[in-house]
Symmetry: C2
Amino acid sequence: MAGTFKIVLIGSGNAGTQLGHAFSQVGHQVLQVYSKTIESAKILANQLDAAYTNELNQIDQNADFYIIAIKDDAINKIPASLNISEKIIAHTAGSVPMEVLKDLSPNFGIFYPLQTLSKDKTVDFTTIPICIEGSNHETLYQLKSLAESLSTSVQEIHFEKRKMLHLSAVFVCNFTNHMYTIASDLLKKEGLSFDLILPLIRETTEKLNHVSPVEGQTGPAIRNDQEVIEEHLGALEENEDYQNIYKLLTESIQKKN
Amino acid sequence: MAGTFKIVLIGSGNAGTQLGHAFSQVGHQVLQVYSKTIESAKILANQLDAAYTNELNQIDQNADFYIIAIKDDAINKIPASLNISEKIIAHTAGSVPMEVLKDLSPNFGIFYPLQTLSKDKTVDFTTIPICIEGSNHETLYQLKSLAESLSTSVQEIHFEKRKMLHLSAVFVCNFTNHMYTIASDLLKKEGLSFDLILPLIRETTEKLNHVSPVEGQTGPAIRNDQEVIEEHLGALEENEDYQNIYKLLTESIQKKN
């Protein structure tokens, strides 16, 4: 690692919490945690042995990096009066350009970990792609150094590509996870354990190491097994929402293949 | 293992191929492979050192088990004239009752591996749940013995529950895999490698060992991050199909949480 850094975390939600722990674990010092909810700032700060505040004008001025991990549409509401002189400030959002930070410091950039982060689930950052951008060469270099202290997969990726990565992430992570939620609901109704389909879930992803998803597609939609499809739609009659999802995705698979 | 069995495989598609290899690997003898496409029967039969045919009236009468792995809606079209006396016959379909086999032998049942099977992707059957049913005690016992020779997770599961398992499998496997296909399309358009989101895909499933899918949900839908959602819908404008999927799944996540 290039060195240890002093960091202020702006945001103590899912991403802030996991980044805070990751920074701390590799030896950086989280000086302070900001959250508009003081209780949330305090919980994370206590875990990281850091100070905390819910006032942006109380932000510690002695950090090397100010890492913003708050809701995407709140990022551009951070006031230009934030007093961090010319320190490096970066946000962690997939779909927001770095230029929203330009009034806060001349040295701004992106620190976007391509991962699903929840407060209560520790992740191993070593293999997580971290996408970075910087407003100038030195800022990029410093953000790269910070990112490489966590991960072996650091990529300089500009806005259009980052947006597409984020959109793809919504499909493979959030939407996929919703498929798991639906299955969990359905199984519960029949008194079946979710554990029964875990091996199938694992193989569905493991398969990606061997065949492309379009080649690996199986099931009633791609077999055009109309009897099964009708039966499944019938079984979903009580839940119009799930029924519509089944219909739309079945048609989409059939169109694609 | 209880013993080695002689097996005739009816069907040489994805499931037939993988089951054939799995049976063979644990020491059973696949006597013969049937497919209505002689070339397909021949390819698998050669791999398993078995005979092959595309005529149901040429089926070998000396097997212990006749395992049917053909399209669901073709199962009940196997003629009652199939000459297997009182041997055990079972099909591998998730959504078809075992009774469709009742005219073929008094000893019929289900041998349903809850897994995604492709011709070219070998799977480890050891942890795959195999759901069985039998028309009588002895048939159930024999099918259990065959299933336990492949897997440590053998379950007697009746029709209604099996159907729900199959429906859940469509969501967690086929629909999830379609999410991967869509992401792969989107990334390709921007010249990005699919490998970049593999760690995210892995973590999305790994997370299921720690939190339930409904608790583990993240992303713009559940954060109700309307700006990002609008931007994503805009980015999908060229593909109405993907745009509709994004809309429907976003709404469904928001309703659920």
